[in-house]
Structures are given as structure tokens and as C-alpha cells.
Amino acid sequence: MQDFVQHLINGISLGSIYALIALGYTMVYGILKMINFAHSDVYMVGAFASYYVARWLGIDSNPSIGTLIILLLTSMFFCSLLGLLIERLAYRPLRNSPKLNILITAIGVSLFLEYGGQVVFGADPKVFPDVMKDFVLFSGAGIELTSFDITVLIVSILAMFALDFLIYKTKLGKAMRAVSSNPSVASLMGVNPDRIISFTFIVGSALAGVGSVLVGMKYPKIDPLMGMMIGLKAFVAAVLGGIGSISGAVLGALIMGLSEEMVVAYLSSTYRDALAFGILIVILIFKPAGILGKYSVEKV
């Protein structure tokens, strides 16, 4: 039982990292109806940006809460910038092209970043800077809460609340929802859809940037292909929750994180990565719209 609670905590922690990345997929899908395959590579670049900035500032040897904040901001900044550039340079010129062209372009951008990353950063793994000391904050009843777990939870929950506030409580968020619902009607209201789309890429990428620091902290080995597997899982999480749905992405990611943790704990760690594919197949067969996904119905 105590084991189970511990696994529950680990699963939620893993799931909240997936959620940060899944949100980027779902937001871009919501607004452009496309899968941004390069999203996981934006995440990777965030990790490398933090790595280099930490070394440049010399803060990698001196972990503290300040380090965490600086690296989060660094990663968010570079991810946003990259997301913005990708949208401007690769996707915007294809706005009115068939969806398939855009999808292929997204795969191209992803490959470009992965292999470009190997050229620029080197293919060998690097060690992510120490963000903070890992210590046990709470121990008892067979459960251990480490500073890492708590940080992951707090940071990702804060990020998600901030996103929720942005989308549901601000004028900009309303415009985002309007554009994702119907871009031409939104433009009739005075919204410039291109600006909102850019902004969506910025926000989604920034969340991935938060994710890369949290993952770097927990699993401090980074390499240019590090985005592939976690990106795939986050993508499956978004599809599971219902792609395009914000709360769906969070829900899907939590399910994903929890089931992965449980599978590894109670079955075998060899199934860790197979699980994502298994879940994907099952949803595509039984509920292609995902748990919270809905096809909006228009009245005529």
C-alpha cells in the first residue's frame, strides 16, 4: 500500500511533466488543426539552452532556487523564440496549403532540429547542470517526498494555472479560443489570427521549456534526440485526452504518467515505452476523439 502511494506520487510527477509538453501539441492543434512534430525538438533545444546558459553564467556548480528560476526563464525564452521562428518561417507560408503539406513540413522541421542539434551540440549526451540539491523533504509511512518531486509538482501546477488563467480569464485567451473555434469569424471581430497563432506557439513552446528544465533536473542526461520519446508520449497523452482540449491534455498526461509508473512498478520496465503505443492504438480504435475531445456541432 505504501508502495502504491509512492508510485502514485511518482506517476503524478511524471504525468505533470508530460502535461507541460502535451499542452503545446494540443494548443497548436486547437488553433491550426495540425500536429507540430517539431514541438518535442523545441523542448530539446530548451534543455541545451539552459545547459549553455548555466555554464556561461557559472551557476551550474552552485544549485539554488535562483538557479532553477534562471534556467526556467532561459529555457522558456529560447523555446518561445524557436517556436515563434518555426511558425513564421515554416508554417505560416503554408497557411492555405493542404494539411498534408504542413504535416510533412512539421516532420521536416523536427528532423532538421534533431540532426542540426547533433551538429551544433554534438551527438554525445551532456550532463544537465545541477538545478538544486536533491534531498528528502518528507519521509514517513514508507513514503519519500524529495525536493525534486515537490519542485516538479509545484512548478508544473503553477504553469498550468497560469495557462488556465491566460486562456479563460484574459482577453488574449478569449481571442485564442475564438481563433481556434473559427478564424474567419474571429477576424470579423477585429482579431488578427496570425498574431494569435504566433502567440499560441510562444505559449506552448514556453511550457515545453518549463518541461525541459524539470526533466533535466530529474534525469540530467541531455542529447539532441532526447525529445523523441517524451514527445511521443506527450503527443499520445494529448490524443488520449482529446487533442485540442486543454483539460484533456492534462488529464491524458496524468493517465499516461500514472500508467507508465504502475506498469514499470508492477509489470516490467521493458513495457515502459511500449505502453504509449499501446494506449495510442487503443484510443484510435475505441475513442478516436479522446476522452474529452468533442467534435463541435454547428447548428444550421
Binding site: A175, S181, V185, S187, L188, M189, G190, S296, V300
Partner: protein, 237 residues
């Protein structure tokens, strides 16, 4: 005569190889209700889309004497052009209130927005009871009221209405036409597209008849109501 709000000269719209508007010349003057009538596919919706900027045009399209063919859609709202689009286009997953707020997206005058918000709710008390309902779950008539109100929330100088009576019960249709008339009496200029030609002509000052992308007739609404051709083709008598 009052000043021209919309003036077009040789206005053309192409959808790929389809030539949807073929050189339209028309005007809408301040304070008027002008109707566009015509069969399905005549180009009525396309005309409104052209004025709002949703489709590229060739020829001249002026708003208050300035050429606006190069002005992007989202800036035409600020100039004073609002449209309630065909099929209403409410944002289904937003509440009634949020839809109305979207209508005022380009405005900054908080007090004015509040005033127009109250005005819309007075105009359509039904919306007031449903402020928190998701627009997508409202009835067709309620959605139409919302779409018109949302357009009004931008405080337009001209209101473009695309088939406000589509799919509505006769009683609601009459109600909506009453409101259009009232808006006009309060000074709003309106360009109205309608299948229901009789109702449209009854409240309009002037009208244009469109056939396959061309204006084939134009006159005062009263004359068109008595015109034999119009009566046969569009009024079903």
C-alpha cells in the same frame, strides 16, 4: 442625399476559377437599409464577405470615401464595418457573455462597451437569461440574436446581416425584422441579405437584385415589391 458609406465600382471576386462577383456597382448610404436579394449562389454572401475583407477583390471598394481593398479584415472592424455572418458563426464553446465580449474586441472605451452591452441585452432579453450558457447549446433563433448583438458590440457604422431569418420560426423572424427596423431608426446603416425577399423589401429603403454574380435590377424597395418580375421570381406570386 446623405453621404455614401459603401461604394463599389466594378467589384469582382474570384474563387479560383469561379467568377463569383462580376463587376458590381452599388452604394449604401448612411441611414439606409439596403437589401441584396437573389437566388442561391447569386453572390449575396460573397458580396458581404468582400465588404468585410474575407475574400480578395479587384475593382474599387470604398468605405466613407476611402479605398479599403487593401485593409485587412480585422482592421475594417475598427473602421466601423461589422458583420453577422451566414450561419451565425457564434463561438460554440464560449458563453453568451464571452461571445458578446468578443464583439467588442477592437474597442477600448470600457464605458461605451458596457453601455452597448446593456443595449444588446435590452434588445434581446432572451440573451440576458442565458449569459452563462454555451453559445453552441442555444437554439438557432437565440444564436441569431447573439450573432447580431455580437456584431453590434463593435459599435459599427454599418451592419452587414447575412440571412438573419435563416431557419427561424415565423414569430422569431418577425421579431428580428422589427429589431432591424428599430436599429435603423436609431441611426444604424444596414446592408441586409435575405432569402425572405418579401420581409426584407418591406423594411428596406432600396434593394439590389443579384443573379449569378451580377446586379440585374435596382430600385426602391417599394417599387421592387410591385415589380412583376421580382414578384414572380422572388416573392412567389
Amino acid at each position: 442625399m446623405s453621404s455614401a458609406m459603401i461604394t463599389t465600382e466594378n467589384l469582382n471576386v474570384h474563387y479560383g476559377s469561379i467568377h463569383a462577383l462580376k463587376g458590381l456597382n452599388f452604394e449604401v448610404h448612411q441611414g439606409e437599409i439596403v437589401s441584396l436579394i437573389g437566388a442561391n449562389g447569386a453572390g449575396k454572401t460573397t458580396t458581404l464577405r468582400a465588404i468585410s475583407g474575407l475574400v480578395p477583390v479587384t475593382g474599387s471598394l470604398q468605405f466613407e470615401g476611402h479605398d479599403i481593398t487593401k485593409v485587412p479584415v480585422y482592421k475594417r472592424v475598427e473602421l466601423g464595418i461589422a458583420q453577422s455572418p451566414e450561419g451565425r458563426g457564434v463561438f460554440p464553446l464560449m458563453s453568451v457573455q464571452e461571445n458578446l465580449e468578443m464583439g467588442a474586441y477592437s474597442r477600448k472605451d470600457k464605458a461605451g462597451i458596457k453601455k452597448d452591452y446593456e443595449m444588446c441585452l435590452d434588445l434581446f432579453p432572451r440573451l440576458k437569461e442565458r449569459l452563462w450558457q454555451m453559445a453552441g447549446t442555444m437554439s438557432g433563433g437565440e444564436q441569431q440574436m447573439l450573432a447580431i448583438s455580437r456584431a453590434l458590440m463593435s459599435k459599427p457604422k454599418i451592419l452587414l446581416l447575412d440571412e438573419p431569418s435563416l431557419g427561424l420560426a415565423p414569430l422569431i423572424v418577425a421579431q428580428i425584422f422589427e429589431i432591424i427596423k428599430k436599429l435603423n431608426q436609431d441611426g444604424m446603416t444596414i446592408l441586409l441579405v435575405e432569402q425572405n425577399a418579401r420581409m426584407a423589401l418591406k423594411i428596406s429603403h432600396r434593394a439590389y437584385v443579384l443573379e449569378t454574380g451580377k446586379i440585374v435590377m435596382q430600385d426602391s424597395a417599394a417599387n421592387l415589391l410591385n415589380n412583376d418580375e421580382v414578384r414572380k421570381a422572388y416573392l412567389g406570386v
